[in-house]
Symmetry: C2
Subunit: 167 residues, 2 copies
């Protein structure tokens, strides 16, 4: 009995490094971040399609139930239902598309942060030509039962923009 127990104790000791070292070492964090980056890139492709196809329900479903969207020049919008309504009321002109570029994704366990840049492409409207609006964003993602969802998202344009004057 003594040898097996001793082996068991040694095995447990070596398998059981302190969490703070085992889980948070730079290799493990880099791996987790690379995995999250890949998953988030794929979600962003869907996000872009949902915007292009004017599907506010589907965009809202990319957020947590109590997720918070933080658009510039408007108060924060809290919760999926409110986000859907906000998007359905057309904060951007119809026909707008968006392209996200995730510059940096860092993940630790069930939490990730994505920093990126965006381009909104707005169609010509009356006297206004088509235009591209560049900006940057920060997203707090949470892994909820195996799916990355947006907990909160903040963004802003790179330059001041005023809506084109009406016809």
């Amino acid at each position: 009995m003594r040898l097996p127990l001793f082996i068991a104790a040694v095995a447990l000791t070596s398998a059981c490094q302190p969490v703070s070292t085992a889980e948070y070492d730079s290799n493990a964090l880099a791996r987790a971040s690379a995995d999250a980056h890949k998953a988030i890139d794929a979600i962003n492709v869907r996000y872009q399609r949902f915007v292009a196809e004017n599907m506010p329900d589907s965009v809202a479903a990319l957020f947590m139930e109590d997720g918070v969207m933080m658009p510039p020049n408007a108060p924060a919008v809290t919760g999926r239902a409110a986000i859907r309504d906000y998007l359905a009321n057309g904060p951007t002109p119809e026909g707008t598309t968006v392209t996200f570029t995730a510059i940096d994704v860092q993940a630790v366990g069930p939490m990730a942060v994505e920093r990126g840049s965006y381009v909104f492409a707005m169609p010509a409207m009356g006297p206004s030509p088509a235009m591209a609006i560049h900006g940057k964003y920060l997203v707090h993602w949470r892994d909820v039962d195996g799916t990355w969802l947006q907990a909160s998202t903040s963004w802003s344009d790179d330059a001041p923009w005023t809506p084109p004057a009406g016809p």
Copy 2:
């Protein structure tokens, strides 16, 4: 010898839950988040003082060496030196103060995300009365050798704002 080893093995077994369960359970995350919230509140008090006393060096030192500040209507500002220069060039009128309110802080290991609201209080300037600008922000914090530093920060006002016309 057998009983102590048996006790040691049992002790190790119970101390050594899988990392994914032990470290990411909701109690542990709530504790880590509460601790981070307290630490970040204290940093924000210093941040507010640095703004009020016009100390761009000290504000920049609250960021990581390669931290990214993402102000509205301006491109992202990358790195402590660039952040200091950006702030030194006076993006807000002299005498401006800021108040941060951390609404929600979530932390996992060395990473935290703070979501909050701010009020910029701008002094009267010539014909313009004093005014308060309300907005919301998202900060990605990293624990660097025991100090929480800003990795990236995005914010935007709650309403459109145009600078007052000159005299």
